[in-house]
Amino acid sequence: MRKIIKYVVSDILQNRIVLVYTAFLLVTAFSVFSLEDNNSKGLLSLLNITLLIVPLVSIIFSAIYIYNSAEFMELLVSQPLKRKTIWLSLFTGLAVSLSISFLIGIGIPILLFQPNKIGLIMLGTGILLTSAFVAVAMLAVVKTRDKAKGIGVAILLWLYFSILFDGIVLFMLFQFADYPLEKAMIAVTAFNPIDLSRILILLQMDVSAMMGYTGAVFKDFFGTVTGMLTSMIVLLLWSALPVWLSTRRFIKKDL
């Protein structure tokens, strides 16, 4: 298993797109911090990058990579290797290498300019988001044989998680404005890893505004150690669940 992971990681890290992705993150992060006069504003711009670009690149790159390595996988399957091992090492390789480029691209500027709690939470959630979206991509790919369709599904999933989901939530909020929705909203956020990461960072960043009544409800949950752990576990589940489902599927799949 380790051999396959090593192979995948070194293959991806040499990939030109990933190099460009890393450089892009690095350049934007540095320019954002040096352009804005206060660092917390820079962090805000980085938040948008982490919540939009990172999932987008993770999901689409993984989808394309898996389609492209179809022949390599066929070769591996013909060897005396368990299918489960192959699939899991593919996932680990993708998640690790994309996390490495995220850590280089965003991690270095954050450690230089904002080495505090908010910065570290942003790094942590960024890595969890990367691995969650790699996992979602794998599930999408294993379910669709057609390459164009699979990539399309991946893009739609990204669109859903980053925009549509929030739109639906906002719509529901106004439809059910007469009901006390604060507690329900906490549960709803569990269904979107991007929202969950955003709120974790928001609670550190806009702490004054979040202390209003509604905010206090969120703060009481997400701000506590239990809440923080719960949301981390939910974020991890967002990686684990799709990977588990896709592995089950891959084992039986007719390649």
Binding site: S162, I163, L181, S208, M210, A216
Partner: protein, 415 residues
């Protein structure tokens, strides 16, 4: 004959001197002195005497001062109210109380038992005392021209009903509240029907309700005070002619907590204050004719909430830095002016380089209107969708009040 004429005035002057010396006796109170307790010393004292109290623990029940004396403690003698009594009652003009540690007054829901209470008198000075665990700290009822200076007032109650106010002034005039520090009371400083007074350099923190509470008190100034971590911030209500200069309002957190709450305030002046890390920096309701200049709003949830019931409020030359929302409002009617402020969220340009932005800044964001209508929507704040909504609204304002804008936003921090 001539000799007599010269001697008489001499004797007259001498006799005046003699009287003067006689009436400003110093009476010592203490374990090794003639007078073992303050009560007996007060009984034999006359106007103008000084009563010097040695260090020690005195359980005097209630002391009533009815003569114009100076009551001075040496090395903070303790006056203990044994959780039953009002410790000192001042019922004479010109009394000075200096240097005591006043502890454990009674608690009553019928009477306002206090550490020191001034009844209908003037020119009283209360300074350098330490008050601990008193129901009300220093209470002035119908006093005038009194000075309350450099006292440390601390209470430990957990509930509002179990606690009175640190410095409480009712129906008074020309009061000077200077350099006190107050914490743990219901309201730090409470003014009701108090006029022409000054509150200067006090520190009011961790009080259960308000750091400073003002009702029907006209023409007062409060200058260079520090209010932090109070249950609901500072509240100024139903007054006119209030001057607020150079105060700091910090870390008042919660839904009903405001750095400064202005309700039905008119003709007032707010300059040089700092509002830092409050849920709402300033909340205004029914306020009118207020000038706000050179204040700093930093790291607040809402820098300012101006309800539509306010009018003729002029907000100019203030710095708005890293607030979550700059201005919140509840309607579309705007009768106030915003000019020449610095907003860190402003992203306009300045072609003629006169340091004034060329396009107006709209401090009310679409999302702050949405949150005002539907608080749980705060959960979606800073999402891609929310910034998209804000952007569109900036292009074509529809929900936000059209006239609430700064026509001359500054490009650089003003101070």
């Amino acid at each position: 004959m001539g000799g007599h004429a010269e001697v008489r005035p001499f004797f007259f002057i001498l006799s005046i001197f003699y009287c003067g010396i006689a009436s400003s006796r110093t009476i010592h109170v203490g374990a090794g002195r003639t007078y073992k307790n303050i009560r007996t010393a007060l009984a034999i004292s006359a106007d103008g005497d000084t009563v010097l109290v040695d260090a020690g623990h005195y359980k005097e029940q209630s002391l009533v001062i009815t003569k114009r004396i100076i009551l001075k403690g040496v090395q903070y003698p303790v006056l203990d109210g044994e959780k039953k009594f009002e410790i000192i009652a001042v019922r004479a003009n010109g009394v000075v109380i200096d240097g005591f540690r006043i502890v454990h007054s009674g608690i009553s829901s019928m009477e306002d038992l206090s550490g020191i209470k001034i009844y209908d008198r003037k020119n009283v000075v209360i300074k350098n005392n330490i008050l601990e665990d008193t129901f009300f700290g220093i209470y002035t009822q119908n006093g005038s021209n009194c000075i309350i200076q450099n006292n440390q007032i601390t209470a430990f109650a957990k509930e509002e009903q179990q606690s009175g106010n640190g410095i409480h002034c009712w129906k008074s005039d020309s009061m000077q509240i200077i350099g006190n520090s107050i914490s743990g009371h219901r309201d730090g400083i409470y003014f009701e029907f108090v006029t022409n007074s000054v509150i200067w350099r006090n520190l009011s923190s961790k009080n259960l309700r308000y750091g400073l509470h003002f009702m029907f008190s006209h023409n007062d100034s409060y200058i260079a005070n520090y209010f932090s971590n109070n249950g609901a911030g500072v509240s100024v209500m139903y007054s006119h002619g209030v001057k607020m200069l150079g105060n700091v309002f910090e870390e008042n957190w919660g839904d009903g907590a405001y750095g400064l709450l202005l309700k039905e305030i008119t003709d007032s002046y707010i300059e040089g204050n700092s509002f830092v890390k409050n849920t709402s920096g300033i909340y205004m309701e029914g306020a009118s004719r207020i000038t706000m200049q050179r204040n700093l709003f930093k790291d607040n949830g809402w820098a300012m909430k101006i309800q539509a019931s306010c009018m003729e409020i002029s907000v100019s030359s203030n710095n708005f830095i890293s607030n979550t929302f700059d201005v919140g409002t509840n309607g579309t009617l705007v009768l106030n002016t915003f000019d020449n402020n610095y907003w860190d969220k402003y992203d306009g340009y300045d072609l003629n380089r006169d340091n004034v932005g060329d396009v107006p800044y709209r401090p009310v964001s679409m999302y702050s209107m949405i949150v005002e209508k539907n608080p749980p929507a705060m959960l979606l704040f800073r999402s891609f969708l929310a910034s998209l909504l804000d952007r569109t609204e900036k292009m074509i304002p529809s929900l936000t009040p059209e006239r609430l804008k700064d026509n001359k936003p500054m490009m650089k921090k003003i101070f």
